[in-house]
Amino acid sequence: MTAMRLPNGGLVDRTQPLRFQFDGMEITGFAGDTIASALLANDIVLAGRSFKLHRPRGFVGAGYDDGIMVDRLSPRPAPNQLAAVTGIEPGAVYRSVSTWPSARRDFGAVAGFFAPLLPAGFYYKTFMRPSWHLFEPLIRAAAGLGRVPVETWQPTSESRYGDCDVLVVGAGPAGLAAASTAGASGARVMLVDDQPSPGGRLLHDGFADQAWLAEMLAMLEAMPNVRRLPQSSVWAYHEHNLLTVIERAPSDARDLDFRTWKVRARQVVIAAGAQERPIPFPDSDRPGVMLASAARSYLHRHGVRVGARAIVFTNNDSAYATALDLAQAGSAVTVLDARPTVAPEVQARAADRGIRLRTGAQVVRAIGRARVSALEFETAQGRERLDCDLVAVSGGWNPAFHLASQSRQATSVWRPDIATFVARHASEDFSIAGAATGTFGTSDCAREGAAAAATALGRLGIKSPAVPVPESGDAFVANEVHPLWFVPRSKGAGKVFVDLSGDVSTDDLGLAMREGYDSIELIKRYTTAGMGVDQGKTGNVNVIAVVGALSGQPADAVGTTTFRPPYVPVEFGAIAGARSQARLYPWRHTPLTGWHVEQGAVMYEAGLRWQRPGYYPQPGEDWSAAAQREARAVREGVGVYDGTPLGKFQLKGPDVPRLLDLAYVGDFSKLKPRRGKYSVMMSDDGLILDDGVTFRLDEHRWLLHSSTGAADRVHGHLEQLLQVHRPDWRVSLIPVTTQWANATLCGPLARDVLAALNPDFDISNKALPFMGMVEGHVAGLPVRVFRVSWTGELSFELNTPARHGPALWQAVMQAGARFAITPVGSEANHILRVEAGYLSTGHEVDGTADVHDLGLSGLIGPAKTDFLGKRSMEIRRRADPSRFELVGLLPEQGQMVPEGAPITPGGDRIDQEGFVSACVMSVAQQRPVALGLLREGRRRMGETVRARVRDRIIAMQVVEPVFHDASRSRVKS
């Protein structure tokens, strides 16, 4: 055993052993262990395989910087759990990722032999002939991460909006000092930290000043104005100080797995710490090679000593803390320091603990495959080999200023002393403090945190109190880094992996640049460096520096890539919160939904989340039989449908006629009261926005109808027209769609039913002609009646204030009973309108056909010099004189043609000359009929054209686009 649990030490609870399974092995850990620490405690160092090449991999970090994932099979099956972050649970079953059958014996390892065929961007180069699809299944099976479980676990999540005076990101020394300062002033503070206990690196540094930590915690606990979110991450910094936070397993709500916050903070203090980076060398990705701080973290948090014969490879002082702690825990430790000299105090302390030190040392390669067993290194004395079971590497520390960058108010700037990037900004919205600014050393960090809070409070006009800061310094701080970005390959040495999650080596970076991908953004995308689960936390700065070294530029000339959220992986279920299925985007119901459902209607979405009945099936009927029956009832008797969702807008004012004349193609200024007019509304770019009938109620009041789905667009269109382009016009525009419920009677017996409703107005054709309207009462209920038709039959649209909707329908059904009145759904409506040759937005009005194409040229007011869209329509028609025009189509041999089927010359697989916009089984003609758009269709009447449906060709005859009552005699009766 070389990695082992020590009998004492760490924050785990040794009185609470927990058993779980990993890759079929029974493992025992303790409460407080992560999956990673429990595996390491049991000397399981190989925990997964790399993404592309299936190389054996172990734990490199001890938190969100580590890329090892496991699938949790039970409880709550979920793939891709970060092993170094996820706490173990009793009875849990975990499986390694990208492995089969297990991490130890992975068949995918053969991918290693194909490594020469799998360089960066290989999918553009190799596995291409005869067809990529031959290799695709194999490569997809070999690559990829966790497997989606068959039974899915739905996390219980809640979304909340928060606001506070100061949001502090990170509860390390800087964050604690900032939160205490802000809290003590009385400001409302939120303190977010990703660990279960606060303290940040203080917890895994073995830091002597635990008393200060305890004092801070006590202070914060006593402040009700400070809200602490442990095990939580700020994952995005949005505009105007809106930050998104994921709170995991909130302690105040045991039933919640997640709570997602959108916090609007008046001020933000970013104290997110710094991230250690390794020094890549040949085969440094072997299990057993990890960050020096990770080795220390496993020791102090979990009481796990990860190696008995440790080599510490470093270019700065901070790794000596690891060396000393490991030696104290009983390991034999050798330090290989890349620097030519090391400070005498540091040397002395190392010597005190029996640590051997070699300076001017560079590791040449790692030996071992499933686990590192030795290192070869070079000094001035030549090359040597040293056995080991752990390599703890430190190449320096990268300040975590990602959130500042996400705010788009900071730029990355190179600091040569610590050989890394820091943020420069002039924002008044946030401050950065501590290691996140490149300040290392606990006292300095705490002082900076307090100062940042004071700055934030000052911007809010709040006085800040003084809080205690720790006095003791750290022995080993990475204040001066001797840059060693990577050790190049030499004879016999393996690849140098710079980004572990993406399997990106120095070879890949060099290749990318030789192929011309020379900007860091292109290199990132071409090699996938920084795009893996760790999002480049350990690798990115090294990648940038390697690119600089290979291209002969300094790292800050290479620059950083754009920082984007999320900072850590976030489950989609957590983001969705409780907004799933119907709650994500609620349905809109008319007052009649209850009645429709009671009648057995199958409800459809009619557009804009409106629920409308699709059809009312009677026993034994499918949708087609029901639709046929309902449509026949309308043609032969009388039907009623619910047209409530159609858009309605009340217009009032002396300039309404001018508005309508500008917005519509037709003439409205001469429209008489109690009359309506059908017209088409275009947007100014010459495309049809909507069509509908607008009525003049009286001299000043109008009612504009739009289609259901376009109602919101029409609203915005008219508002913009009035407020921006014609602000001097006196028009009041009010959407009233939901104010009126609707029952539309349609069919030859419609007037009979209306008579049976006891109207208090004249319903004769003379008094109430087609396109006329009247206000009055039926069955004692106030109504507006409009004579419009979309079915091609005599039709009365009865509109009543919404609260009377159900009563109106009851009255209609009662009055219509002796006429066998039939409720009609949208399927039947579709049949009826296609037969009648009426247009529908989304079908014939497809966004490219204009008024002339659809045969509606007659709608254009002949004297109109201008209306929205006129000029652009002319420009378009001049540019493309050969138009797709509305035609009717009769498919041969009684075949139905799917909507959208292309019409191609000869039915060949070539560019289409049109498409079928709608096809229904006509009740009027007892055969399939269709509408469509066909190039120059109007002069091709009688021709036979061909629709192509995959490999089937359906011949159709081109006819006039109306199949029932072309003279509209029934509508006008």
């Binding site: 105007h240 609007r264 108010q409 915005g716 508002e719 913009q720 921006v724 201008d866 000029r871 420009i875």
Partner: protein, 85 residues
Amino acid sequence: MLLIDCPFCGKRPEGEFSCLGEAVAPRPDPAGLDDDTWSAWLVGRENRRGFHSERWWHVRSCGRVFTITRDTVTHAIQPHAEAGQ
């Protein structure tokens, strides 16, 4: 999510509004214009990096259309101009 200062309602979150895009001049009379000039007004946009004027419609509250000046990189918003222009 932007915090937009509506001239009537004060600072409200972006979700209450509908963005109407870059603020363009009021609609000219197409009659006197050649095709290129008309098209330029219709679809041409500066798409500036930095401060630019854009219109927002407070659709889920007061219904007012107004103009703001926003930096397209940092999202900083300057106090708004006159409504309707």
